[in-house]
Symmetry: C2
Subunit: 227 residues, 2 copies
DNA sequence: CAGGCAATTTGATGTTCATCAAACTGCCTG
DNA sequence: CAGGCAGTTTGATGAACATCAAATTGCCTG
């Protein structure tokens, strides 16, 4: 793993994240100064469940799986993090140890924020505190949405939801380029890879065509009926 | 619905919640002053998905379901809130509208916190900001745990988990008194009521006996094997 | 371009759980 | 105590999804 200070391009990318958008001037600078950038190999562990929590992260590049393991060794993704996503910020006041595992999917670039440092900054600077609260709020809403979606929707509905959320238009044909392997999408939707594949098959009569990572949608309006 | 200012007993109860434990003196007083207590009928809506979010709540008495509805009218609980639970605090910086529904189960007493007021207090008082972050952090961890648990564990395992979490002891026999109807427990575990009932049946050979809300556990250690 | 590996798809099968219907239980009220 | 009602359990059935195995595709490297 390769570590370095923040470059200008990384800096401008970080400005777009939930964590730092909304910050300016000194508050922003203090947060940026507290971060370190890490280059990581594919499938390398960022942290493990039960380890002492000393940092949270922002994805600059690549993808990170957050997951839990069952006693029998089965594996369930809790969240798939994409570029600009912040993860494990819940450890800021959430207890001493990580409660889940984090592992890079491909090679990934992460901005690492020291928890102790950010706690101190949040204490001193109400703008930073507000940014952390915004991040936590948004993340909590998303996770509650995930619980509801898992409990309410079938696999094809969840896939349709995902596609529609990434559709720029309201009606007519569209195409969506998956930003990662179907493997990760399956984990994100709480499905086995086979189940994701079959969900796509189910959507074919509804005008959804799959060619690798490129998904063609015959009619967005029609797809909306599935949900 | 009946509204009134906080009484002394309600005050002392609020001190035990994640939101206010950790606060003292002036910070605590400001939060308490901002709250109003509401007495509510059973099955009354606290707020609905899509409504403008102007408050969050702490349960003083009774139970509140947080749930989402599918387009076809199906219903999925996202969380069951018990006395001392805080809910909808994610709306503090999470957007303008509630993203789920909240409805009382039995008659319930709620402390209502105005979002605008608490935003202002958090801005001015870093102790209050920290309390809100603690609340959000804990809640987010719990919700992520819920996603993992739904995806990883079967119904009997989730029931066993629930019972074990409420078991004071480590080994030998124990008994757990459910604090509410099985209906609510089912919702909490993401199950239909029938599925909960069958999960209890599955656990009978493992030494779990059900009589109304009283659950007898033959051997805690043995039950732990189920998980 | 050939070969090889990983990702994805497809098929077959079994488990888990939701759903509907009906029986049963407990509790409350008249 | 009878009746009624909500909550719970049980039975029967089907839908949804995981799992295992095998075929296929896609992509990368030599």
């Amino acid at each position: 793993m390769n570590k370095h200070a923040i470059t200008d391009s990384e800096r401008s990318q970080l400005l777009k994240t939930t964590l730092l958008t909304g910050l300016q001037g000194r508050s922003l600078q203090r947060m940026l100064d507290s971060a370190i950038v890490e280059e990581r190999e594919g499938r390398s562990s960022v942290f493990r469940q039960g380890e002492n929590a000393d940092a949270f992260y922002c994805v600059l590049n690549g993808y990170v799986r957050l997951f839990r393991l069952s006693r029998e060794g089965r594996h369930a993704d809790v969240r798939i993090c994409q570029p600009n996503d912040v993860f494990a910020e819940c450890m800021i006041y959430g207890g001493d140890d990580y409660t889940f595992n984090a592992q890079t999917a491909d090679t990934a670039t992460l901005a690492r924020f020291d928890l102790g440092t950010v706690r101190r900054l949040a204490e001193e600077d109400s703008n930073i505190a507000r940014s952390v609260m915004t991040c936590l709020s948004q993340h909590l809403i998303d996770t509650m949405h995930c619980v509801g979606s898992d409990r309410l929707n079938t696999a094809p509905q969840r896939v349709a939801d995902y596609l529609l959320e990434r559709c720029p238009i309201d009606r007519g044909p569209a195409s969506v380029q998956l930003p990662f392997q179907k493997n990760l999408l399956a984990g994100m939707l709480g499905l086995a890879p086979e189940a994701l594949s079959r969900a796509f098959s189910t959507l074919r009569p509804r005008g959804v065509t799959v060619r690798g990572r490129m998904i063609q949608i015959g009619d967005v309006q029609a797809l909306r009926e599935v949900v």
